[in-house]
């Protein structure tokens, strides 16, 4: 079996697990929405909220990412599924890509909900001229986050104390995505008179990030989950 086919099978399996358990839909999405409401309580100013809406969307995404990643690997380690896959001779690169694809799909849904929440709660406006940039930002950032999430989730999987360790390891790594995606989204939404052309350089950063951690992850994932 080639890597690509393994990846699709693993991704399909993860999404099927999610479809049947609905943990992300029933727990993580409400959590993310709650975070958006809490931001409003903390900042307590409509103008400030509209100004910082893109950043808050991405910050809420990062927090939710932590929860989703923990869930994605709890499923694997619970019955030694990850070990079983390895014993079965499944290539780690394929597992990595598959889990990243499933994670990206779940993140994409989550980000759409968060953007919707920003429009409704924070009066952020999606403008037609920024749509292309917005979609590109979402694709690039989501890919990068999914790769990093899978990589560090695999690192922490099966080790005791992983619940507390994952945020410490992962948040510093995803900081460039927070900065890049926030700036690009601001440009797409026209926050503070930014124009879409301001956002494109950040897409470069996000793409570079996704490529670095995609390639790095596919190569390193095997040694990380090796028990």
């Amino acid at each position: 079996m080639n890597t690509w086919r393994i990846a699709r099978l693993v991704a399909a399996k993860d999404l099927r697990v999610e479809w049947r358990s609905r943990v992300v839909v029933n727990q993580v999405l409400p959590f993310a929405a709650l975070v958006m409401v809490m931001f409003a309580f903390a900042l307590d100013n409509d103008q400030v909220l509209t100004r910082v809406a893109p950043g808050l969307v991405w910050l809420a995404t990062m927090f939710s990412l932590l929860v989703i990643v923990q869930r994605a690997f709890a499923v694997e380690t619970a019955d030694g599924a990850l070990d079983a896959l390895q014993v079965a001779g499944v290539r780690p690169g394929g597992i990595f890509l598959g889990k990243a694809m499933a994670l990206a799909a779940q993140l994409a849904v989550l980000e759409l909900v968060l953007l919707g929440a920003a429009v409704v709660l924070y009066k952020a406006e999606v403008v037609a001229s920024g749509i292309v940039l917005l979609v590109t930002t979402y694709v690039a950032a989501t890919t990068g986050l999914a790769f990093v999430g899978t990589l560090y989730g695999g690192l922490a999987a099966g080790a005791k104390g992983r619940e507390t360790l994952l945020p410490l390891l992962m948040l510093p790594v995803v900081a460039p995505v927070l900065i890049g995606a926030t700036r690009a989204t601001e440009a797409a939404l026209g926050t503070e008179n930014a124009t879409p052309s301001d956002g494109w350089p950040w897409i470069g950063l996000l793409t570079l990030f996704a490529v670095v951690f995609g390639v790095g992850g596919a190569l390193a994932f095997g040694s990380l989950i090796d028990e």
Binding site: L155, L165, L168, P172, G180, L205, L208, G216, L224, D226
Partner: protein, 265 residues
């Protein structure tokens, strides 16, 4: 760490031949000489840094923080580079050895310590010269991220599992950190492009100041090598304790059982 032993043999060998010894020194003649040199260097730095070097015209005596701040920053970067290179050496199959892993771990520990000193001394210095403890300058932000990243690295080293597992996991993480740091640096540089270039090294340093700084870098580098050497040996001993732990525990339980039979209570 500098035990009273005068032997120059490898402490690891001693430990193996005599596992019951409760004090295994991690010092050798070389490391003891190095330790003395580091001590002398630190004394030299104190004399030059606190007494002989002149006050700055603007910063007055506050400029002396530089003699701790700059060398510790330099040393932290050196330490993280050593961690990265040792991790690569571990991952490369031909040079794979747990010694590389221990060097990487020891160096990261010392690096985190000195990066902490850099951040604290830097913010105090910033308070004196810029009037603020922190600015969102690219260099400062990258340094803070570097600190957090290696704190995470040290936490991963403590995750448990076999020594090989620990070594592999942390080596991969160290290599990932080397990928991450430039990305963080680029992004924060873009994020705040108008960062302050306000460091003392604007070419305004007097000869004696520059010399003192040089002394500081030498003293701190000696200290770094000394600390890493010892820490690496301690880690090797810890690994040995780990290896012998089960045997020792079985022997102890057996002795307890025998003792209990002899003295029935």
């Amino acid at each position: 760490m500098t035990g009273s032993m005068t032997s120059t043999r490898n402490p690891a060998e001693e430990m193996q031949t005599d596992p019951t010894r409760d004090r295994a020194p991690t010092s050798t003649t070389f490391s003891r000489t190095l330790g003395l040199a580091a001590l002398a260097g630190s004394g030299w730095l104190i004399v030059f840094g606190l007494f002989l070097s002149p006050n700055d015209r603007v910063q007055k005596t506050g400029v002396r923080i530089m003699y701790v701040h700059v060398p510790s920053a330099w040393l932290a970067y050196l330490a993280f580079i050593v961690t990265g290179l040792s991790s690569i050496a571990y991952l490369w199959k031909r040079t794979r050895s747990l010694t590389w892993d221990r060097i990487a771990g020891a160096s990261a520990e010392v690096g985190v310590l000195f990066m902490g000193i850099t951040l604290v001394s830097g913010s105090l210095w910033g308070r004196i010269t810029w009037g603020t403890y922190w600015t969102w300058d690219a260099r400062l932000t990258t340094t803070a991220f570097l600190f957090v990243t290696y704190v995470g690295y040290l936490a991963v080293r403590d995750l448990g599992g076999s020594q090989q597992q620990r070594a592999k996991r942390s080596a991969v993480l160290a290599v990932l950190a080397m990928l991450e740091v430039p990305l963080v640096h680029f992004s924060v540089t873009w994020w705040r492009p108008l960062h302050q270039n306000e460091t003392v090294s604007d070419g305004k340093l007097s000869g004696l100041m520059l010399f003192t700084l040089f002394v500081g870098i030498i003293a701190f580098t000696l200290l770094y090598v000394w600390l890493v050497l010892h820490r690496q040996r301690v880690l090797a001993l810890l690994d040995q304790v780990d290896d012998q732990g089960l045997d020792v525990a079985i022997a102890e339980r057996r002795d307890e059982a025998i003792a209990a039979q002899e003295v029935p209570s």
